[in-house]
Symmetry: C2
Amino acid sequence: MEIKIMKNILDRNQNKANEVRSLLAANKVVMVNIISSPGAGKTTLLEHTLEELSSKFRTGVIEGDITTDRDARRLQRFNIPIVVINTEGGCHLDSHSISKVLDSFSLEELDVIFVENVGNLICPSQFDLGETFKLAVVSTAEGDDKPGKYPMLFREARAVLLNKIDLIPYTNFNSASFISDLRNINATVPLFEISCTRGDGMKEWFGWISDQIVI
Amino acid sequence: MEIKIMKNILDRNQNKANEVRSLLAANKVVMVNIISSPGAGKTTLLEHTLEELSSKFRTGVIEGDITTDRDARRLQRFNIPIVVINTEGGCHLDSHSISKVLDSFSLEELDVIFVENVGNLICPSQFDLGETFKLAVVSTAEGDDKPGKYPMLFREARAVLLNKIDLIPYTNFNSASFISDLRNINATVPLFEISCTRGDGMKEWFGWISDQIVI
């Protein structure tokens, strides 16, 4: 019974996601759905990425948050279109909420929209937003066992960013274990080992993400 | 429509939670529902807590995980009853799954059951398991803005554990901001600032949790 209800919700989400995907394709807009646990560093990653990309691409942002506009405020200085979706307790964004807010963007004037999903390693990976691809962000402080324990996202992501590698010396994080765990789940996904605060790996990340945005 | 479905699911969960709560009370067993993001340190906290409490109390554990039994394996050395619930993709435990596994415990031989919920700061706070109380664990590496952004759990918890305070010097975590954010959401909840790896604050935590277990 509950499974059937969930299937209906997911079917309706998928139909709307397909619409969103067609609309984005018609306007040649790439949409990146960024997913992580709370506090893995999505907003800081976005700040650095917008700094790098804003001169090359026309960017927009959708900020998913349960209740505040704190993350959006951190991005205001970029003077780009930003829309906040407050889920009011909801644990993920869905394609219907994305579809609604797309009306407030001038899609023909954008190359890429970054969607910062609600901080949650589980539910957001089950809801297609119509995005071009998903991005998994995970922090070293979360431990090296996360891909095996939360496999859905790591299977679906087009790239994995291992953030906060500057903290490794102060934790029991084992890079070899993490990589082996990830490769069991997804043998080929590109992995970027980065530190947003110290700058490690950011050049490679900027290069890769730029290549995904066709203009 | 979706709201109505959600209400039905929550109503059925609440009814079963009430049954679980009665059963635990009849057997004088305290159940602690531990909730956090992935990688905030629930299992490590549990390891240290079991080490301290096992000589004083008869303990049991329910390990909620999406797909592995990794956390349960880490606790095997305590030689106490441990049951794993794999949610198979599900983002939280519910009272029905707890009710089912309670049959495999001899409740009359236990003082306390620790439930390690699925790593998720959102959904688990919405599902009453019939627990005696919820515990919120949050890591300094997640940032100081989490209570305001994920208020449900911080409102409901009987205690908040701020873990990994040994990492503060290597992050931009601001303790005053965290405390102010927490107090806006919950003015009175006890806060323990701890480091499971270094030992800070553990004595106070052990004292408090022992006081919650009446034998």
